[in-house]
């Protein structure tokens, strides 16, 4: 016999009596863990996008609604391709590269893929001459871009298309395919496939990005225009600015230059998500408060009831030689046991919910954050301790003469 056995035997005797308070803690911790995990990973996702795309601007058809940067070009609405030349000729400060795109859904290996026409940077070499017409390129003053360390400040290789957002060389009969396309079609670099009745050679397979680019097939823009009879149009023009500051200044300039287009930055695209993340962050604070109030009240109520129904037992234990400190520890440890079980199960449940809902609702991959779980468990135990302290103290101060009473 020891204190742990005493507590465990009593818990085993009437488990359902403790269910309510354990459940309250479990649900509170689960909600806290789930919301915080999703919020943290969503904030990281947004932060990553802002970091990697912060200097980028999208020029889209006016009526386009946009929720995801990576699928901005999937609208059926179009812009004239001549807008690319218009932007170049204007020689706006801070414009580094342009990437016009045209998308259409087609099939590869009987699976839907997004055939994306993209203009390789080699097509812009002649166009670069246009910028020399005004002799000096309109350099962005105060550019925060790190000093260039080579001929280019980006990776122009085909494999880097998804991250660099442009490709240097792409012939009319070449394609670059996403990771998912390569997987289900068993296509590799150097192999050929047929699209719209024409043969294309796979120039490269992109690494997996976790974005819609994994299901894209990239071909030369003019080839896609020809095959689809779309004409000289694009769905979107991505403008790569030299730095975030330049992008900020470019937006009004581009909007003025192209009044029939919508000009958005990644900040605007993710602004909704940023708002949602902020809201979720506030909600997690609210949930924590609920945890404290409801969970704490439940624990306090449960332990108080337990003390009341065990008054004679407490008196008897005192008569047998139990100190007030032991009585207090007995009830506190019992509360901690409830809190620990609730916290651990709640953390597990919260983690499962975060992994599932994070993927389905927020589009983020959630992995356990030990520090976050530790905080949630620690908070639950703290709440439990505080809530059980007064009832436990009351028990310790019970009159031992209760052992003689007929209760």
């Amino acid at each position: 016999m020891n204190l742990r056995n005493l507590i465990w035997r009593e818990l085993r005797e009437r488990p359902s009596a403790m269910f309510t308070s354990t459940l309250a803690i479990l649900l509170g911790v689960a909600a806290l863990v789930a919301i915080r995990h999703i919020t943290v990973f969503s904030e990281r996702e947004v932060g990553g996008q802002l970091e990697s795309l912060g200097a980028n601007i999208l020029v889209l058809p006016l009526e386009t609604t946009l929720q995801d940067y990576y699928s901005a070009d999937l609208s059926s609405r179009t812009l004239p391709e001549s807008h690319v030349a218009t932007i170049l000729m204007e020689n706006l400060p801070g414009v580094e590269r342009l990437s016009p795109r045209l998308c259409v859904v087609t099939q590869v290996a009987n699976r839907d893929v997004t055939l994306t026409g993209i203009l390789p940077q080699s097509e812009f070499q002649t166009k670069a001459i246009w910028q020399s017409v005004s002799l000096f390129s309109n350099k962005h003053e105060g550019c925060t871009k790190p000093a260039a360390t080579g001929p280019k400040s980006y990776d122009g290789s085909p494999e880097a298309l998804a991250s660099a957002r442009t490709i240097d060389q792409l012939e009319g009969n070449q394609i670059v395919i996403g990771a998912d396309v390569a997987e289900f079609s068993n296509l590799k670099s150097g192999q050929s496939t047929t699209l719209y009745g024409e043969m294309f050679q796979v120039l490269a397979v992109l690494p997996r990005t976790g974005t819609i680019d994994d299901t894209r097939v990239f071909a030369h823009l003019h080839t896609v225009q020809r095959l689809t009879n779309a004409g000289e149009v694009v769905n979107a023009i991505e403008v790569m600015g030299c730095c975030k500051d330049a992008a900020g200044d470019l937006v009004p300039n581009l909007a003025k230059l192209l009044p029939d287009a919508k000009v958005v930055t990644i900040s605007q695209v993710v602004s909704t998500q940023v708002g949602v993340n902020r809201l979720m962050g506030q909600m997690s604070v609210f949930v924590f408060a609920i945890l404290v109030v409801v969970g704490g009240a439940s624990v306090a109520s449960t332990i108080s009831a337990n003390v009341r129904e065990r008054r004679r037992e407490v008196g008897t234990l005192m008569a047998l030689g139990a100190t007030p400190g032991l009585i207090m520890r007995m009830f506190l440890l019992k509360a901690w046991a409830l809190g620990t079980v609730g916290a651990i199960l709640g953390s597990l449940l919260g983690l499962i919910v975060a992994v599932v809902l994070g993927s389905q609702w927020a589009g983020v991959t959630v992995t356990p954050l030990p520090s976050l779980i530790a905080i949630a468990v620690g908070s639950a135990l703290l709440v439990t301790t505080v809530a059980a302290f007064w009832p436990a103290r009351t028990a310790a101060q019970l009159d031992p003469c209760l052992c003689f009473q007929d209760i």
């Binding site: 910028q131 017409v133 991250s163 690494p207």
Partner: protein, 264 residues
């Protein structure tokens, strides 16, 4: 209406060009097709090519405006109209890569083949004056459009020998084929426009060297005693050295690949 001084400047420039510029190097075969002096351009005159798709109201408005502007510079400018869908004009359209440009588009071509102006949709309020450039600008723009580096020696009021860096670059086989050197005087009234664009005072005392890189990047301004290494370092820092990642003149190229945030 031009001033007499402006007309004299343009005429003088054309004469100078006709006899060659002393310090210019013989142009080498360009690495990629570039607009050059050829039969499309009229000899000794600026040619304003009007590329159009349809003879619609916008095209006619541009044509009318251009006609009025060119009439003020009859002795040095002329106009040519090019329908982009005309098979006979296919090569010209491809040369200036205007098939998918906003049309109508007026392209100003100097007598030496350098593009000196582009006016999409309509002429600007100031007209076509901006397309007329100084002699040194013309040569410089041509070289830049051919993908070359240009070292412009701007002489100050104090006479000085050729800057050290210029001589060194000319002697360096790594640069000699892709470099053009030109010289001019800061106080030359014909070059006032160029001097102003380079932000050099026309009363400067010392000789300066200005390094320009394609398509029109002002890499830096250096005094006459600047070494070749200093100038080369500035060129490498601007990422304009060359396409060779192993070039000794530039730091090790870092990968610019950035993976996008993983979703799902």
């Amino acid at each position: 209406m031009k001033t007499p001084l402006q007309s004299l400047s343009i005429a003088t420039a054309l004469v100078v060009l006709a006899h060659g510029i002393a310090s210019a190097q013989a142009p080498v075969k360009p690495s990629r097709p570039q607009p050059t002096v050829n039969s499309e351009a009229v000899e000794h005159k600026y040619t304003f090519f009007v590329f159009y798709k349809q003879n619609d109201a916008t095209t006619q408005a541009m044509a009318a405006a251009l006609k009025g502007e060119v009439s003020k510079h009859q002795e040095v400018a002329t106009t040519k109209f090019v329908q982009v869908d005309d098979p006979a004009q296919k090569a010209l359209v491809a040369k200036y890569d205007v098939s998918r440009a906003p049309l109508p588009l007026t392209v100003a071509v100097a007598p030496n083949g350098a593009m000196t102006g582009m006016f999409p949709k309509k002429l600007p309020a100031e007209g076509i004056e901006g397309a007329f450039v100084t002699p040194t600008m013309m040569v410089t723009m041509k070289a830049l459009q051919e993908g070359k580096l240009v070292l412009v020696t701007v002489g100050g009021s104090v006479p000085a020998p050729t800057p050290t860096a210029v001589t060194a670059f000319q002697a360096d086989p790594h640069f000699s084929e892709r470099l053009m050197t030109v010289s001019m005087e800061a106080a030359d009234p014909q070059e006032a426009k160029f001097i102003a664009q380079m932000k050099i005072a026309d009363t400067v005392l010392e000789t300066q060297t200005v390094l320009l890189a394609p398509p029109g990047v002002l890499v830096g301004k250096f005094n006459a005693t600047a070494s070749k290494e200093v100038v080369a370092a500035a060129l490498a820092k601007a990422g304009k050295c060359c396409e060779d990642p192993n070039c000794k003149h530039q730091p090790a190229t870092q990968s610019a690949t950035k993976a996008p945030a993983t979703r799902r």
